[in-house]
């Protein structure tokens, strides 16, 4: 019993150390973004900004096309996420509710695509998009992001539909609903938590994507946030307080997800995984 009472203390210290390991870099990012440029070149560094200023935020938004970057990301990420979810939800429902020839092969195929290293598609996409004039367009990036997200999202939706009892479908059928009606009025509402967490997953991944966006956009006005700030750092006029402000702005959508939908997200994400 004595061991039991002693253990949590050591455990608590470890957890607090872990939290510090996470929070110290985040704290450093936040305070740097509020410092004035000369203060970031102080040695030893100041651990609290001497005078709070929003200069860095202003500079990033006014002097760099951060607004454009952000808007491009929003268009590409929202567009690809919506289309992905539509496709993945239908496929997940179809594979979970109907017996059809080739269903096993289809599901296996969805999983196998996870193994493809995405770089192998970088050159083909570069060439294909160039051929159809889709380099430097939102549509081009949307197409690429859909191809990344559909497989895993289909799998997540399939796992989620499998957790919804099928008796409900039968009951609805007796009430005279056709299959489309069952999908729309029964399955869809019940699977909303699954759809929500799958959407968030696709959203986060697309917002994060860097390599393809960097390769498939060349003009300044078409860059996404990831690419935009990834290249801002090479500018000699930029300071660390500006970079940290840009970093915080670029993280806003994901931080909003973190604040408002964290639990929903993790529950949906782990529902399928734990079951297997």
């Amino acid at each position: 019993m004595g061991q039991r009472r002693k253990f949590p203390v050591a455990g608590l210290i470890l957890v607090i150390l872990g939290c510090l390991m996470v929070l110290v870099p985040v704290y450093w990012m936040v305070i740097t973004s509020f410092k004035a440029a000369p203060e970031t070149f102080r040695n030893p560094p100041t651990l609290w900004p001497e005078s709070f200023t929003l200069d860095a935020y202003r500079k990033v938004i006014d002097d760099y096309s951060f607004g454009d970057f952000f808007l491009n990301s929003v268009i590409v990420v929202v567009g690809s996420t919506l289309l992905t979810i539509l496709v993945a939800t239908m496929a997940g429902f179809g594979a979970s509710r109907f017996r059809f020839r080739g269903k096993g092969a289809f599901l296996g195929f969805v999983l196998v695509t996870q193994m493809f290293p995405s770089v192998i598609m970088l050159i083909p996409y570069f060439r294909i998009l160039k051929l159809y004039g889709l380099i430097n367009t939102h549509l081009g990036l949307i197409i690429v992001y859909i191809s990344f997200q559909v497989p895993l999202c289909t799998w997540l939706m399939y796992s989620y539909f499998e957790t919804i009892p099928k008796d409900l479908d039968a009951a609805a059928a007796i009430d005279g609903l056709n299959n489309w009606g069952i999908f729309r009025k029964i399955a869809l509402p019940l699977s909303l938590p699954g759809i929500a967490s799958t959407s968030i997953y696709a959203f986060i991944n697309s917002w994060n994507e860097f390599q393809f966006a960097m390769t498939l956009t060349t003009t300044e006005d078409m860059k996404t946030v990831s690419v935009g700030i990834g290249q801002m750092i090479d500018d000699t006029m930029i300071n660390w307080n500006d970079m940290m402000a840009a970093s915080i702005l670029a993280s806003i959508p994901l931080i909003l997800v973190f604040i408002f939908c964290q639990n929903l997200f993790f529950e949906g994400l782990t529902a399928g995984g734990v079951k297997q």
């Binding site: 253990f7 949590p8 455990g11 470890l14 957890v15 872990g18 939290c19 996470v22 870099p25 740097t32 970031t40 070149f41 102080r42 030893p44 560094p45 496709v87 239908m90 496929a91 179809g94 594979a95 109907f98 017996r99 059809f100 289809f106 695509t113 193994m115 290293p117 995405s118 770089v119 192998i120 970088l122 050159i123 083909p124 570069f126 060439r127 191809s147 559909v150 289909t154 609903l177 056709n178 299959n179 986060i204 917002w207 860097f210 390599q211 390769t215 946030v225 990834g230 750092i233 660390w240 940290m244 970093s247 993280s251 994901l254 973190f258 964290q262 993790f266 782990t270 995984g273 734990v274």
Partner: protein, 298 residues
């Protein structure tokens, strides 16, 4: 779209409906995943500028690649990056998941929220942030090290070829351990408390309980997550690119950066595709090995 009720539907209808609902996903997979993939494999047999020159060279690039020492060096670096990143993430994830699941741990939700935070920053942001933390003259880490007396001269973490890879791995662990921790937390919650009590009655200590109850309980989730992590790390690009661009010299040049540079710095698209195909084959072999091991366990 008038269809007879579901339970009366025969196989024919099941077939039709199944195809109808899965058709969009199937089209996406074939047109947008399989087609580019095959295209990529085809390009690996060509000397091409992707515009007007497509000279078939057969296996020339493959023959060159298998004797290319610099490629093996970047494969080796990828292996080091992957092994240490995944190991580090696993240790932290297992540790914190087990601590957060303890009944006696206070403020669980607060701690969990803090610990998952790195996962909610974009890779690019994490790369830039750590470049600033590692900064030799004005960075936080060198300040801390000097203050506690561990270093007298500033350490150039990212521009010293001896430390660069380890510095990158640290960042990668920091960014990636929360995902695994969340998966393990969910798995741990499915383990029955009775098992722990039984183990305690049998006189098992903390470590033995972990070995005989916890580990078997989380094994299915752990092995799936490990496999995913290994594949992700093996092809990882963004963090490393934003921290070091593969440098200094080529100290952190992993295969994904090697493939990218071959294509888009040196415009040798065919050779770059050859490398990508090679990595693809390695990932297939790893997956098959994992499947076999899983079957052995069962």
């Amino acid at each position: 779209m008038k269809q007879p009720a579901l339970r009366h539907v025969g196989d024919l209808h099941q077939n039709k409906l199944g195809y109808l609902f899965t058709a969009p996903a199937f089209l996406v997979l074939v047109l947008m995943v399989v087609y580019p993939l095959i295209y990529g494999i085809v390009i690996s047999f060509f000397d091409t500028n992707l515009v007007n020159r497509f000279d078939f060279v057969g296996l020339k690039y493959y023959k060159r690649l298998i004797v290319d020492e610099t490629f093996y060096a970047s494969l080796g670096r990828t292996a080091i990056f992957t092994i240490f990143t995944v190991a580090g993430r696993t240790v932290l994830a297992v540790l914190f998941a087990n601590l957060l699941v303890m009944d006696s741990m206070p403020c669980k939700t607060v701690f969990r929220s803090i610990l998952v935070l790195p996962w909610f920053f974009p890779d690019v942001v994490v790369g830039i942030l750590w470049r600033w933390l590692y900064n030799a003259n004005y960075g936080l880490f060198n300040f801390i090290l000097r203050t506690i007396g561990l270093a007298d001269a500033p350490i150039e973490w990212l521009s010293n070829s001896k430390t660069a890879m380890w510095a990158v791995i640290m960042v990668s662990i920091w960014k990636g351990f929360p995902f695994m921790m969340v998966m393990l937390l969910a798995a741990l919650q499915t383990i029955s408390k009775d098992l722990y009590e039984a183990a305690e009655l049998d006189g098992c200590g903390v470590f033995q309980r972990f070995l005989h109850v916890t580990l078997p309980g989380i094994m299915p989730v752990l092995s799936t997550t490990l496999m995913l992590e290994i594949m992700w790390c093996f092809k990882h690009f963004t963090l490393i690119w934003n921290l070091t661009k593969g440098g200094p010299v080529d100290a952190t040049q992993v295969v994904s950066i090697d493939i990218y540079n071959t294509a888009f710095q040196y415009t040798r698209y065919g050779e770059s595709s050859t490398r990508a195909v090679f990595v693809f084959v390695i990932i297939i072999i790893l997956t098959v090995m994992q499947k076999k091991m899983k079957r052995k366990e069962a």
